[in-house]
Amino acid sequence: MMKGGRHLRSRGSARARRDFRTGLLFAMPWIIGFTVFVAYPIGASLYYSLCEFDGIRTPKWIGLANYRTMLLEDELFWRSLANTLYMVVIGLPIGMIVSLVIALLLNQRIRGMTFYRTLFYLPSITPIVATSILWLWLFNPQIGLINILLASIGVRDAPGWLTDPTWSKSALIIMGLWGAGGSMVIYLAALQDVPQALVEAAHLDGAGPIQAFRHVTVPMLSPVILFNLVMGLIGSFQYFTQAYVMTAGGPQDSTMFYALHLFNRAFLDFRMGYASAMAWALFIVTLACTAIVLRSSARWVYYAGEEA
């Protein structure tokens, strides 16, 4: 674990005890933070989920009623879950592929790479509220830039985007692609770490560019793909700000995402027990998906250090 010696300290149990105290002291801020902001809230949230609770008065125990309402009576729960899964299953892979393809293009030893990298990265650091308002305007069905451009290339009945329930989620995914530069730079940094010798060796062995990509580049990139996938998964399940600012869940609940439904129940209706039950369902679904991805990763993620 530790690089270099630590033998100076590991001698004697007095030393070990002192190290324990020192280590504990250094870690204390997070131990306190963990207790107050993680451990206690997890317990409390589980308890609230079994209660009727408005955030002020004492929670009233109602057993599994919140969960029963959620699963059996609340249609919006299922609707918002389906909308969120749409972003996870369709939006996330599209975003990951686009950012990987752009990174591959920029890795072609092209001139002006840093210029393009900067240009593609800028949208991802643009404040998310500003981005949302800008795209609300770009997607304006009558006078937005996107439909103006579509009209100029002869598209007659362009979609209503955020005003049309069949297009609203696609619009949000397209807007997300504008920010794909964020994960693109992570891929690019990893691509530049792929030893050129390996790729050349593959070429010498008669591999074409596609084979070299599939059998050399992809395995070398796989830890970063896993990282982006897990982060993207967790993020997509909590998709909130864009929907809150741009659509407030509409039209016809087509962008009512899980986190937005949950927020509204907690802070609009003050049904905080119910919101806690929803939070637990979200937690379980997120954990299950992450666990599936991590478990599958043993088969497709390659760690260069492992063989040594």
């Binding site: 690089k3 270099g4 870690a27 997070w30 990265y121 650091i125 305007w137 891929y187 809150y244 979200l282």
Partner: protein, 279 residues
């Protein structure tokens, strides 16, 4: 040189295709920014009728900034950013030091707990934290949005721990022999060496706080306390059809971040490599 030329020539069609594609992507990346600024400088009657403005006017900025108390929101944002940057730098570097450079029993368990909290959705802790802050009387103050930073952030602790592990152990041993305390080693040996990593953390925390929306939405009610993000969202719900003003205000909120990016590009790129690859 000759070899390179033939190499390029044989790949010419492919290279041209790559450049054409990159040009298209550049336009797609940049066009929204152009549309943002262009809308903000069009005369009011041209916002809905013309693609290119016939003349440049600043009225949207003037009006937008009178309806929208930019300086007040900027001040609030900067207070939150400063507190979060300082808090995270101190607490996260300390905890990371304890996890990476002090050999004590329990540090592995703690590190595993740290990693697992990163998967916890904010929604799970949202309601109980609201109840706690309400009980403390902290609602509608900056405290719920700043105090947690002083108790460490899992992601940045992780990042700094990885960085501290790459520094040779002999550094600490030598300092110990010189009679330094552990805290001296942390402050005088390790922190100075970690300056690039700390700069990265500071930058990401600043950016994250500048953009933070959900926290202020939950905890702040009084419009005088809003940061830019929340202020802009509320402005939108009131002036939703004044696109010129909305674009002006959005521009004003975005420009500082872009300037910051250009000033600190190297730190950014470094940090991305650090967070992405070692993650």
């Amino acid at each position: 040189m000759r070899g390179a030329t033939t190499g390029v020539r044989s790949r010419a069609p492919q290279v041209i295709a790559v450049y054409v594609f990159l040009m298209l992507l550049s336009v797609a990346s940049f066009a929204p920014f152009v549309w943002l600024v262009m809308t903000s400088i069009k005369p009011e009657d041209e916002v809905f009728t013309r693609v290119f403005p016939s003349r440049i006017v600043w009225e949207h900025y003037v009006r937008g900034l009178t309806h929208f108390p930019f300086l007040l929101y900027l001040r609030n944002t900067l207070i939150l950013c400063t507190a979060n940057v300082i808090g995270t730098l101190i607490s996260s570097s300390m905890v990371a030091y304890g996890l990476a450079r002090v050999p004590w029993r329990g540090r592995h368990v703690l590190f595993a707990a740290l990693l697992s909290t990163m998967m916890l959705p904010a929604q799970v802790t949202m309601v109980p934290l609201f109840a706690v802050f309400k009980w403390l009387g902290w609602i509608d103050t900056f405290l719920p949005l700043t105090v947690p930073a002083f108790l460490g952030n899992a992601f940045f602790i992780f990042l700094l721990r990885q960085f501290f592990l790459t520094l040779p152990g002999e550094l600490s041993d030598a300092a110990l022999l010189d009679g330094c305390s552990e805290f001296d080693i942390y402050r005088k040996v390790i922190l100075p060496l970690a300056a690039p990593a700390l700069a990265t953390v500071a930058l990401f925390v600043f950016l994250g706080t500048w953009n933070e929306f959900l926290g202020p939405l939950i905890y702040l009610y009084d419009a005088d306390k809003f940061p830019l993000s929340l202020g802009l969202a509320m402005f939108t719900s009131q002036y939703g059809s004044f696109w010129g003003q909305l674009m002006a205000v959005s521009t004003v909120m975005t420009v500082p971040i872009l300037v910051l990016f250009f000033l600190t590009q190297r730190t950014f790129i470094q940090g991305i490599a650090m967070s992405g690859i070692k993650g």
